[in-house]
Symmetry: C2
Subunit: 82 residues, 2 copies
């Protein structure tokens, strides 16, 4: 059993309205040190396999095809378990 | 400058329709090993401070008040930088 976390974030050059909204909310609550807020997704996949190598290849493929939109998003992932 | 990642996920007992939709999409693309997909948020905060202790306290507070809905979501976070 493997567990993978895929982190999908908007590319740095893309405006993040959700992040801006959160920043404004935090500003209005008097948190003064916040420079930037960006919101991304974390997709947790539980895989019924022990083959980490194949899993790595497949997750990279899935990320490109389904989980992230490569035009506006970057992704990264880690895999835990055995 | 500190950078914090806050991970907000639905509690295990809460149904995750977005995760189910992704699982179906991956099933239909013939990825057979996938047991479960859950979708959460990762909120990246850039803080203009070096005080990790205060930042930790504040981020915990923000998570409870703004970033997560404690009734249906769990959160965790890490802080990097100095």
């Amino acid at each position: 059993m493997l567990e993978a976390n895929v982190y999908v974030r908007l590319k740095k050059t893309i405006t993040d309205p959700q992040g801006l909204a959160i920043k404004h909310a935090l500003d209005s609550l008097d948190y003064k040190d916040i420079e930037q807020v960006r919101v991304g997704k974390v997709i947790t996949l539980r895989l019924d396999t022990k083959d980490k190598k194949t899993a790595t290849r497949q997750i990279d493929e899935m990320s490109k095809k389904v989980l992230a939109n490569p035009i506006i998003e970057d992704y990264s992932f880690d895999i835990k378990g055995e």
